[in-house]
């Protein structure tokens, strides 16, 4: 693997110069704005003090926000486990047609914009939603039997929808890697299957399960769109609180900044605990080999009925909301029954100004694409230059600085840029740039994570040869290194694009008249209960995101196959969909999954090519 070339002082100078570009960018677009937030939250009349934090913490409302945030995150993690563990088992143990498809399906929540999930939940689980209408018609009831919307459980269920597949992936991956001999030994020694499961298998899986729980807990703590759209006034999280104080409620930037600092602290603590836990768990992972895969449809055990009892509700929870969104986008509601229509699509592709989304719908679609393209381009440039710097200069401090945006939640990032765009130098830019910068900062760490290991795995002799033949460093990079990284860069770009398309948190903080993206337009349509328009926009958004995810998958897997750089034991094609290690958490809540300075370096290609590589490495 490429060692850090430090022989020539000229090289080091070039490295320092190279480091200036990302440092300058991060300084203007990230550290300075973040400094504004810290000053606003921690300074009173130019004096540093904890008064604002104390005042916030002694406000019963803020305390409730914090408690509710933790409560719903814990419940969401447990429910995700309950829904996801059986799915993981199912995928590991049984062989059935469509297994690969179902397994690929577990990545869908990562690329599904969370606002579309919220919309789907309203349409599907609402009192007059599809599920209740169906049940009332079948059972002849006068009252809707499912009353989950407008309660805490709407938020929890939507989070479980997102994160059960995360748990399933963790469990599946751990199980397939687990050594089957202890279980076989236990069975040989006379243990019944259930006993063997509880005494042998479960302890083996426990680290993965705990890792998954911790990850889901972090994701749900920092979730924004779902509590915003489904929680009403009574169920708001800290992240929603920052937004409400900055843009909605009793507008108060100092209180918003104080809350932002609290949520920053919370996310740092959780990230630390999570990484610490993840490190411990992964150390206990060992063994090779695959669990036996039993054909599903030849068994005539009662377990089949049990699976149906699980699969049916799971299918309802997973597919119902999405199907409801797509169905609703093609239906015109009428008293006698809905009729098919393309009206909503004509409406959302209209160039006419819509006061309720403070943009024209068509412009919102266009802005999403332009912002996505801009953020993708910038994050690739930034990601490549950060990777280049970190290859040359192996410094933990520098790595922490260059990857710092990972530790900051999107809503805090949004607040920082909101403040920064009101003063020079950033105030010279249009409002759309704030969103582009926010998305760039959110996305580029994933680009770095994707590209660095690939770059490390590259034979250093090739660009060296180009240099020896007289090419300048830039030419050598452009003509040799970049083409060799090729598919990996393309895949990272497609992933960045998908992430930007679905992101709503930063947009909620930064949107304004004429500066509107698809997810936020869906939120506004949902707020004014224009369900048809919201559904049509959501269907377009899901389609575009799916297209980007598909491109990401293709680019990733084709590259992996051609290059064989993945040292993974599993076939590359199967790993490719998640080859970027950390899930984006539904396009907005991000995993702070970067190894901390103290952690192991992701220096092998294994961790890049495998989902959640860090946890199982």
């Amino acid at each position: 693997m490429a060692g850090p070339p430090r022989r020539l002082t000229g090289r080091r100078a070039a490295g320092a110069a190279l480091a200036l570009l990302p440092l300058l960018f991060l300084g203007v677009a990230f550290f300075w704005p973040l400094w504004d937030v810290l000053r606003l939250g921690l300074q009173v009349d130019g004096r540093w003090t904890g008064e604002r934090l104390q005042a916030a913490l002694s406000d019963p409302y803020v305390r409730r926000l914090i408690l509710f945030t933790l409560e719903q995150a814990a419940l969401s993690a447990l429910l995700s486990l309950l829904l996801g563990f059986p799915l993981g088992w199912f995928l590991t143990r049984y062989r059935f047609p469509g297994r690969g498809l179902l397994r690929a399906f577990t990545i869908v929540p990562f690329v599904l914009p969370s606002i579309t999930v919220a919309l789907g939940f309203v349409l599907f689980f609402g009192r007059s939603g599809y599920l209740n209408r169906f049940l009332m018609a079948v059972l002849g009831l006068g009252e809707p039997p499912i009353q989950v919307l407008y309660t805490l459980w709407a938020v929890v269920l939507a989070h479980a929808f997102y994160n059960a597949p995360v748990v399933a992936r963790f469990v599946n991956a751990a199980w397939e890697r687990a050594d089957p001999t202890p279980v076989e030994a236990a069975r040989t020694l006379g243990a019944r299957p259930l006993r063997a499961f509880f005494t042998v298998t479960l302890p083996l899986l426990l680290p993965a399960v705990l890792s998954a729980l911790a990850l889901v807990f972090v994701l749900c703590t920092l979730s924004f769109s779902i509590p915003l759209a489904l929680g009403g006034a009574r169920y708001a999280t800290v992240e929603v609180g920052v937004y409400l104080y900055a843009r909605g409620v009793v507008a108060s930037f100092p209180r918003a900044a104080a809350l932002a600092i609290l949520t920053l602290g919370l996310s740092l603590v959780l990230t630390y605990l999570h990484l610490w836990g993840g490190g411990t768990f992964s150390a206990r992972q060992g063994g090779v080999g695959l669990a036996p895969t039993v054909p599903l449809f030849t068994r005539s055990r009662p377990s089949r009925a049990l699976w149906l009892l699980y699969l049916l509700p799971a299918a309802v929870v997973f597919l119902g909301p999405i199907a409801a969104v797509i169905a609703d986008s093609f239906l015109h509601p009428a008293p006698g029954g809905a009729s098919p229509t393309l009206h909503w699509y004509r409406m959302i592709l209209s160039p006419a100004w819509n006061p309720f989304i403070e943009s024209s719908p068509l412009a919102a679609v266009r802005t999403s694409l332009v912002v996505g393209g801009g953020a993708t381009a910038l994050s690739l440039v930034l990601g490549l230059s950060v990777s280049a710097v970190l290859r040359r200069v192996r410094s933990r401090v520098l790595e922490t600085v260059l990857m710092a945006p990972l530790a900051v939640s999107s809503v805090v990032l949004g607040l920082a840029l909101l403040l920064a765009f009101r003063r020079p130098p950033l105030s010279a830019l249009g409002g759309g740039w704030a969103i582009v910068l926010a998305h760039t900062l959110i996305v580029y760490p994933f680009v770095v994570r994707a590209i660095r290991p690939l770059w490390d795995a590259l034979d250093p002799a090739l660009p060296e040869a180009a240099r020896a033949l007289g090419a300048s460093p830039f030419i050598a990079f452009r003509t040799v290194t970049l083409p060799l990284l090729g598919g990996g860069v393309l895949a990272a770009g497609a992933f960045a694009f998908a992430l930007s398309l679905g992101e709503m948190t930063a947009v909620a903080m930064l949107s304004g008249p004429g500066v509107m993206t698809m997810p936020m337009a869906i939120y506004h349509f949902l707020g004014s209960r224009d369900f048809g328009a919201a559904s049509a926009m959501a269907t377009v958004l899901m389609g575009t995101t799916a297209l980007a995810a598909w491109a990401w998958d293709r680019a990733g897997s084709r590259w992996l196959k051609r290059d064989g750089a993945s040292a993974d034991s599993r076939p590359p094609a199967e790993n490719a969909p998640l080859s970027f290690a950390s899930p984006p958490g539904g396009g907005e809540g991000r995993v702070r999954g970067n190894p901390p300075p103290s952690g192991p370096k992701p220096s092998t290609s294994r961790s890049a090519a495998r989902p959640f590589g860090r946890f199982h490495a």
């Binding site: 006034a233 006061p355 412009a363 209960r529």
Partner: protein, 338 residues
């Protein structure tokens, strides 16, 4: 590089949606959805060729007002006029210095607005309509469950059957908070605590609350005393029942003001004069479903017959509101957890 330039150009296109020749009005979502916004736009653009009137109304009035405050506190807003402020938010708006004083000479139609509707003696905010907050019941609610008093709203049979609005983001919701303060005095938090189980949800704005009510999500909603007239005049039957509580209804006067930072004050005055014109005011009752402020406008007979005027209109003194509102909101937030 060519791509980058193309991208910059494209971004410039999207961000220049609000250009110089546009006149921007921040309004409540309900006004643009229901009220005579289209007619105002038409009249305004006819009188001022080359100016494009742009409504921005993605949220309830109180939320839009907070947004204006947030934007002005850091220097920049697109808004020229704000429409939808009520007496509850007025002290906050004045304290923040959101509006510039209007010049009565530039608003000839102001002469037709009765003095008792002019809520702002300081001359920053003008009324454009008024009405009363009341509860409205759908036919789904049994006759014997119709609440006639504050106590009736607490009946256990109404569990999960009421939709309210958030007083932090909706002027309607704020009016109900003030109403309970006016009715119960210092004991209002106890009443709210008892009321919480009966709430289906607290929405951000009136628009989604009323849409949920119309979709049948709940049979009771906090709305306006004119909703029976609305139902009668739109679907031909008085299907909604307007319910005053203990004979009370909270008095709501909606106003508009010229944003401090506008560069087009003469257009702003012209806009206000159009809103107050008899042609637009005549549209208020049957579109915005409120009472007009223009004294020369005759009410449609059915509207006059069905719009309920409460026996005891309630209105909290603006001075008291100015003094205590922050406390009340904090207390309200704190009791949300139940």
């Amino acid at each position: 590089m060519r791509k980058l330039i193309g991208f910059v150009a494209a971004l410039a296109l999207t961000t220049s949606a609000v250009a110089a020749e546009q006149f921007v009005v921040y309004a409540s979502r309900s006004f643009v959805r229901w009220g005579p916004a289209a007619a105002i736009e038409q009249a305004f653009e006819a009188a001022h060729p080359g100016v494009d009137l742009v409504w921005v109304a993605p949220a309830g009035a109180a939320e839009m007002l907070s947004r204006l405050i947030a934007e002005l506190s850091t220097g920049r807003t697109d808004a020229d006029v704000f429409l939808g402020i009520t007496a509850g938010s007025l002290p906050r708006a004045l304290a923040e210095g959101l509006f510039r004083p209007f010049d009565p000479d530039l608003i000839p139609n102001l002469a037709f607005v009765p003095d008792d509707l002019r809520v702002d003696p300081s001359g920053h905010v003008l009324p454009f309509d008024h009405g009363y907050i009341a509860f409205v019941a759908s036919p789904a609610l049994a006759e014997d469950l119709l609440p006639r008093s504050f106590a009736d709203l607490l009946r256990p049979e109404l569990r999960g059957k009421i939709i309210l609005q958030d007083p932090r983001t909706s002027e309607t919701g704020l009016a109900f908070l003030l109403w309970t303060v006016a009715h119960f005095g210092e004991d209002w938090p106890e009443y709210w605590r008892a009321l919480l189980p009966n709430l289906l949800t607290i929405t951000r704005g009136w628009t989604e609350a009323f849409a949920m009510f119309e979709a049948g999500e709940a049979p009771l909603v906090l709305s306006y005393s004119t909703d029976a007239a609305y139902a009668y005049l739109t679907v031909g039957e008085a299907k909604y029942r307007v319910l005053t509580l203990d004979g009370e209804g909270y008095r709501l006067i909606e106003g508009l003001g010229i944003v401090r930072t506008t560069r087009r004050p003469e257009l702003a005055h012209a806009f206000i004069d159009i809103v107050l014109s008899p042609e637009i005011q005549a549209l208020i009752p049957t579109s915005q479903w409120m009472f007009p402020v223009h004294s020369g406008v005759e009410l449609v007979p059915d509207f006059a017959r069905l719009a309920v005027v409460p026996e005891h209109p309630v209105f909290l003194d603006p001075g008291e509101v100015a003094e205590h509102l922050d406390d009340w909101i904090s207390q309200w937030q704190a009791l949300l957890g139940g």
